[in-house]
Subunit: 199 residues, 2 copies
């Protein structure tokens, strides 16, 4: 079986994860988000904690260290995690219809599955409000935190996919959760998926 | 009366104009596209032909000429056309609900009206096919024509709005007409407008 997959890329603080969960509930399909880390850990042998640290946050700081730490085949630990990540996501997509949040799934599954590729974004004010209220980030300069996470997420995506993060051409639909609202974003994505696949 | 407006920005060849017309039909409201040129001509005193030539196509070539051709107040003809364009679009938006395609209406009306700001785009292959089949462009290298028009449209938008053309943050929703399809794009925008304004 090959699933019809909704991939959700999202700006930090845009509520893309919440949108993904709501869409999956509406459609009665699975939503994979942090569960993917667990699966990558099993696949790669690295710990969940290490994988978390070696993803977005490590991209900028880690290149020199990564070069120093390559294995016999010239692969860094980041590369090994990426290979495991691709396998986990491809396997999930084979099992059945689902929503996958983040982890470059839009890129990894392109050409392999029927995809509805979504990008969720929002203005800085909405995102700053959200990361303080919902993610428990400190109120001390959330804009600085946004800027830092944006830079890291873009770098991670661009290094592994050779595409620009947030470029509409990589997606079928881009929704501004700041003006449209989380619930309405989810309604639209679910409607679109139903129409596209007559479900 | 102040209208609830759908503004449609679009990549050349993406079918954004067709989407706009379909949306307006579905909602039973007016769609303003080339009719705006006629109104700008009346407002500014310039001919329709001159306005067409002095918009996107003139931006790149015209700055030196424009500098040479400024009036007593330092305004070029392009500036005078822009001023007339802003007035025409603001007046249209005061009359009632409508769809406005192109002409930086998203920027001109921001903060003045209730807006649903849409961006329609598509991959180069879909756009090349469309400009040959629908717009009657020559089949000889449509990709070159796309590149040229993309550059000019971006330059025009960026010069007058100080925003990057096609940047999702300027819109509420961005739709890929190449993968989603013109009809479905129109369905979604109409649904979104109805939900947003309970119409």
């Amino acid at each position: 079986m090959t699933g019809k997959i909704i991939t959700i890329s999202r700006q930090f603080g845009s509520g893309g994860r919440s949108v993904g969960k709501l869409v999956a509930e509406k459609l009665g399909i699975n939503c994979y988000d942090s569960a993917i880390i667990d699966k990558i850990a099993k696949e790669s042998g690295f710990s969940e904690e290490y994988i978390k640290n070696q993803s977005e946050d490590a991209v900028e700081a880690g290149w020199f260290a990564a070069l120093a730490g390559r294995n016999y085949y010239g692969q860094s630990n980041q590369d090994l995690i990426w290979i495991a990540q691709c396998k986990v996501i491809e396997d999930l997509a084979k099992v059945g219809d689902c929503v996958i949040v983040g982890r470059c799934a839009d890129y990894i599954l392109k050409g392999k599955n029927d995809l509805l590729r979504v990008f969720i974004y929002a203005d800085n004010d909405s995102r700053a409000k959200r990361i303080v209220e919902q993610y428990g980030e400190t109120e001390e300069n959330p804009y600085k935190r946004l800027k830092e996470k944006d830079r890291k997420r873009s770098a991670y995506y661009e290094i592994y996919t050779d595409q620009r993060f947030g470029d509409p051409s990589n997606y079928d639909i881009c929704l501004n959760s700041g003006t449209v609202g989380i619930d309405m974003c989810a309604d639209f994505i679910a409607d679109m998926y139903r129409l596209q696949y007559q479900k």
